[in-house]
């Protein structure tokens, strides 16, 4: 299933309104079997949310956002890369 990042402009929205948008996103996502909200990161400086979604298509993400009344700016298809197990297990090298 393709992974996408979505930039959402949340300028002018309070934390409560951002929370509420999240509630609508969850409720509306039930209408799209292929769509899953994985997680989001809030950039307070840029007043943007960076969301990671699984979805069938970009069009599906745009339709979901339109129906749920949540902003959707740039959408990019991405691939997941996780830290190498060796690095994750031992952490960053330390100075001796």
């Amino acid at each position: 299933m393709p992974l996408y990042t979505i930039v959402r402009d949340v300028a002018g929205l309070s934390d409560g309104e951002i929370d509420a948008a999240g509630v609508r996103a969850v409720i509306c996502a039930f209408e799209y079997p292929g769509l899953r909200w994985i997680r989001s990161y809030l950039d307070r400086d840029q007043q943007e949310l960076l969301c990671l979604y699984q979805a069938d298509t970009v069009a599906q993400i745009r339709e979901h956002a339109e129906r749920a009344r949540i902003p959707a700016g740039e959408i990019r298809e991405v691939e997941e890369i996780v830290p190498h197990p060796h690095i994750a297990a031992h952490g960053a090298p330390t100075a001796t």
């Binding site: 409560g16 309104e17 929370d19 509420a20 948008a21 999240g22 509630v23 609508r24 969850v26 409720i27 509306c28 039930f30 209408e31 339109e66 129906r67 749920a68 009344r69």
Partner: protein
């Protein structure tokens, strides 16, 4: 339930999923025997459905968005989730959010019922600790109306022992518990003759 709200908006030909539509679908989803019952709350689900049917905005649309009042409702709902300290949205959050919603059908219904969120929360706490309020009781006429049979059929079932009932102390009046109405229902197996 969310899917049902969408389907309901589509059925109504409404351009919006409104708070009223979501409320009607919520009640129907959790209703038993035509009534939504939770502690001090009892709501006739068919009546709510009829009101939504007659008041919903229609334009024949098959593509609907969440309405302005739903956007406001989602804020009440998210506050409710936050207030509860739970991260998972559940039906109690929705019920309390409907009760705290100050517009639309939920506002009218709960102001007429005169039930407060505090009472519902107290019931929820009692229910989770095993102390549950008594369930709704039906008269034979109400039971017959719900099941779609003649009242004499209900009385015959009671006489034969097929349907459990009780008398009000010192009176002839019969009452049937909601859960006992299930005893006269049996699922239809596939391949069974339906005539």
């Amino acid at each position: 339930m969310q899917l049902e709200a969408s389907a309901e908006a589509r059925r109504l030909g409404s351009p919006f999923v409104t708070v009223d539509i979501f409320f009607a679908v919520f009640l129907r989803h959790f209703a038993r025997f035509g009534y939504f019952t939770f502690g001090p709350i009892t709501i006739d689900v068919r009546l709510i459905g009829d009101i939504v049917d007659s008041t919903a905005e229609r334009d024949g649309s098959q593509h609907h968005v969440y309405s302005d009042d739903f956007v406001r409702f989602s804020q009440v709902l998210s506050q409710e989730v936050r207030r509860s300290g739970h991260s998972r949205l559940d039906e109690l959050h929705m019920l309390l959010a409907f009760m705290r919603c100050d517009e639309g059908l939920p506002s009218r219904v709960f102001s007429e019922l005169g039930v407060t969120p505090a009472q519902v929360e107290a019931h929820a706490r009692a229910a989770s600790s095993g102390v549950v309020a008594p369930e709704r009781l039906y008269s034979p006429e109400e039971a017959a109306d719900y099941l779609g049979v003649h009242v004499q059929t209900v009385r015959a079932w009671i006489r034969s022992g097929k349907l459990r009932a009780s008398r009000l102390t010192g009176q002839r009046a019969l009452r049937i518990a909601a859960s006992d109405l299930q005893s006269v229902l049996e699922p239809v197996e596939s391949g069974q003759d339906l005539d």
